[in-house]
Symmetry: C2
Subunit: 410 residues, 2 copies
C-alpha cells in the first residue's frame, strides 16, 4: 500500500509541540491530512529546569493551534499525554482517533542533556524506552494497524564502522566467517552509540525489529542528521507560529551555537580538532521527509524500513568557516568534552529519500536567513551565559572542561 500526494491521512504526532514536531504538524495539516498532537510539554519543562528558553518567542500550544485554525481554517486536535507514563490514556486516544500513521518524536533528544547527570541519564532511558514500547504495545493491544514513523538518529551507527563505504540505510550485508564456511547475511547495522541518548535510540531499533517480526507492526525509522534552520513555510506565516531555536549548551546544536556566538561577537568555539564530520538536514526537509515516509509505508510483515534523513555532511571546521565568512566572527579551538574520535570521514547513503523526490535545502542557501531573521532579530532575548556547554561525557572530562571554561571566561 503506497499513498499518493492526494491521499489524506489521519496522523497522530507524539511530541507535536517540539522543535521537529510542531513544524511537522503544520506541514501535514497544510497538506490536507487530519492532524492530532499528543505532548506532555516535557521540552518546555526542561527549559525551566535548565533556566534556558527558546531564542524565538514560542507561543503556548493552544495559541499556536488557534492561530493556525484562524489563518487556514484547518483544525489540529490536541491531547496532553505523557506517552511513557499514561498508557491507558494513550490507548484510549488511538482507539478514538484511529490514526493511519503515528509520528513518534516523544523522546528526550539532546545528547549533552542525556550525559549531564545520573538523573538525566535515567530520565532519558526511562522516558525514551517506555514511550517507544508503549506505542508498540498499544498498537498490538488495540489492533490498530497504524504505520509508526519514528525519529531515530545517524548516531546509532557511530562513525567509521563501515570504513570508506557510505553509511547504508539501516541494514548491511555481511559474510559470517566460520571455520569452513562463509554465509552471507543481512543484518541491522551494528550499533555504536556515543551517548545515553543515542544508546536509547539503538534500543528502540531492537523493539521495532521485534514488534515488526512478531506482530506485523509497520515501522519506518528515520535516522536523522543534525537538524538546522528554524522556520518552514508554515511556521513563518505568523510570528505566533514561530518554531523554537535552542542555543544553550545542552539543546543547541553546533550550528546554532556558532550563529549565536557570531551574533554576540564571541569567537566560534570548536571542541576538538574540528575535523569531526557530521550530517545535516534543514527543518524544511525534515517535514518533507516525514510526509514522504508517511505516504510510503512498509507492508505488514516487512522488517522496519530505515531511511537516512540527511541532505549534506560537513566538517565542523568548514561549518565554522562558512559562518565566519558571513559574519566576520573569529574561530577558537577548545578541548573536547565529548568522548569521540578527533577526526572522521562521513559519507551517507540517502538515496531512498532522493528517489522519493526530496529536493534539498543546502546550508549555503539557508544560512543568511538564520543569521538575520533569527539570531540577530531575537538577540535581545538571549542569555549568553548558557551558550557554552555544561555536560561532560566522563568524570575526567569534567575536570578538564571546568578548567577550560574558566579560561574562556577570562
Amino acid at each position: 500500500m503506497t499513498y499518493t500526494v492526494d491521499d489524506t491521512l489521519k496522523v497522530l504526532i507524539l511530541g507535536g509541540d517540539g522543535f521537529c514536531g510542531w513544524p511537522t504538524a503544520l506541514h501535514l495539516s497544510a497538506a490536507g491530512h487530519t492532524v492530532a498532537i499528543a505532548d506532555n510539554f516535557s521540552r518546555r519543562k526542561i527549559d525551566e529546569e535548565l533556566g534556558t528558553n527558546s531564542l524565538t518567542p514560542i507561543a503556548p500550544l493552544k495559541t499556536r493551534i488557534s492561530v493556525w485554525e484562524n489563518l487556514t481554517g484547518k483544525s489540529i486536535l490536541f491531547d496532553q499525554i505523557d506517552v511513557a507514563r499514561d498508557y491507558e490514556r494513550f490507548l484510549e486516544l488511538i482507539v478514538n482517533f484511529r490514526p493511519d500513521a503515528i509520528v513518534h518524536f516523544a523522546e528526550q533528544r539532546a545528547a549533552p542533556y542525556s550525559m549531564k547527570s545520573a538523573a538525566t541519564k535515567r530520565y532519558t532511558v526511562n522516558n525514551n524506552t517506555n514511550a517507544t514500547h508503549n506505542v508498540l504495545c498499544a498498537l498490538v493491544d488495540s489492533g490498530i494497524d497504524a504505520h509508526l514513523v519514528h525519529l531515530g538518529t545517524m548516531g546509532v551507527y557511530g562513525y567509521g564502522w563501515s570504513g570508506s563505504m557510505p553509511v547504508p540505510e539501516g541494514y548491511v550485508q555481511v559474510k559470517l566467517i566460520g571455520k569452513d564456511t562463509e554465509m552471507e547475511r543481512e543484518i541491522l547495522h551494528p550499533a555504536n552509540p556515543g551517548s545515553v541518548y543515542h544508546m536509547s535510540k539503538t534500543m528502540d531499533q531492537l523493539m521495532f525489529g521485534f514488534y515488526a517480526k512478531n506482530d506485523g507492526v509497520r515501522v519506518t525509522d528515520l535516522h536523522q542528521g543534525i537538524v538546522w534552520g528554524t522556520q518552514t513555510s508554515e511556521t513563518g506565516l505568523d510570528e505566533r507560529l514561530i518554531n523554537r531555536f535552542d542555543y544553550d549548551g545542552d539543546y543547541g546544536t553546533v550550528l546554532n551555537r556558532f550563529l549565536m556566538q557570531a551574533a554576540i561577537g564571541h569567537p566560534l568555539t570548536i571542541y576538538g580538532s574540528g575535523r569531526q564530520t557530521r550530517a545535516f538536514i534543514h527543518i524544511r526537509d525534515t517535514v518533507r521527509c516525514i510526509e514522504l515516509a508517511i505516504l510510503n509505508p512498509p507492508e505488514q510483515g516487512d522488517k522496519p524500513s530505515i531511511f537516512n534523513q540527511v541532505t549534506e555532511t560537513h566538517r565542523l571546521m568548514d561549518l565554522a568557516a562558512l559562518v565566519s565568512e558571513l559574519t566576520d566572527a573569529k574561530i577558537d579551538y577548545l578541548p573536547n568534552p565529548r568522548v569521540e574520535a578527533a577526526e572522521n570521514e562521513l559519507v551517507v547513503d540517502n538515496s531512498k529519500f532522493l528517489e522519493l523526490g526530496l529536493n534539498t535545502t543546502t546550508l549555503s542557501e539557508g544560512l543568511l536567513t538564520e543569521i538575520h531573521d533569527i539570531a540577530k532579530k531575537y538577540l535581545d532575548r538571549a542569555d549568553i551565559s548558557t551558550i557554552l556547554p555544561t555536560s561532560f561525557w566522563r568524570r575526567q572530562s569534567l575536570t578538564r572542561a571546568k578548567k577550560t571554561k574558566v579560561r574562556v571566561i577570562d
Copy 2:
C-alpha cells in the same frame, strides 16, 4: 586482575531471593565470599498475581538467611530494594557495601509471562531496562568499580542465524560487503529475540556495550540456557533452604512441565514438532559458572565479556522421551502457541567456561533426583490446573490455542 579460588570478595546479589539468585547466594557464601542480597520479592508477588506457587515449600527470605547462619555461622546481608525504582536507595547500598562484584538477576525472567498481556509486556520492559540501567548508572555515579555479572539468555541469539556454526560466545567475526571492498569486523552477535523478555535482554546488551566503552564499567554477560534442577549442595542442607520449583504455564520451563505431567499421570505435552532444540544447564552448574565469572573479571576498558552458560542441548522430543523412559508417561503433540521455527539445529560454543574448569551435570544423571525428590515428594502441593500454558504470542495463536485447550480438557 584475576582472582584465585582462595580470594574472598564482597558480592551483592540483585534478585537474590529468586530461583537462581538464592542458590547463588548460598554457593558464594559457602565459598567464603561476603554476600549481600537486594530483592523486592517481585517473583513471590507474581506467584500471588498468577495464583500459583512454587511446588517446593520455600521459606521466607529472613528464615532462609537465619537458617543458613545457624547452620554455617555465615551471615548474609539483606536489603529490600526495587532496583528498577529505588535508585537513591540502591546507590546508598553500594556506597555502603562497596561490592567487588554485583550479580544481576533483578529482571522479569519468563518469556511466556512477558507475552501474557499489555501489562506484563510493559512491566517486563520497564522493570528490566530500568533495573539494568540503574545499576550501570549507579556504578558511574558512585565511582565504585564493581564487576557487573549479568544473567542474559541464549535467546538473544535467536536460532539458526549462524547456520551450522556453533553459536559463538557473544561476538562474531564478519566481512562487511561493500562495492569494491571487504572489511573484516568483530560485531556483537545480531539479536533475534523471540519474546518481549528476550528483547529486553538484547536491549541490556546495548547498555553494557555503551557503559563499558564510555565509562570503563566491567561487565560479564552470561547467556544462559534453560536452567533445570532444583537443589544445590547448599539448598539441600535443610528443607527451610529449599529452592523454588516452578511448574505453571508461565514460569515452569519445559522440563518441569514434563516432570509434573509425569507425576500426575498426564501425557507429556510437546508444543509443535518437538524438533526445537534448546540449551540446558543444571542449577548446580549455574552457581559454579557465576563464581567462575566473578573470579575472572574483564579489565576496565574491555568490551563486555560474554559467556555461553550452557552444558548440553536437547531436542524437546528427546527430552520428553528421556522423562517418558523413567516414568512411563505418554507423549502428546499439541499446536505451538509460540511464534518460532518448527525445527532448529543448535550447537553452542561453551568453551570459555570449560577452559575455566567447569564440570558439568548432565540430564541423564540428575533427572531421577528431580522425579523422586521434587515432583513426587511435593505433589500434594501442586495445583494441576496451572500446568498448561496460558500465554500466547499473537492474537491468531490466542484463538487457535483457546480451541486447543478445550480439546485437551476434553
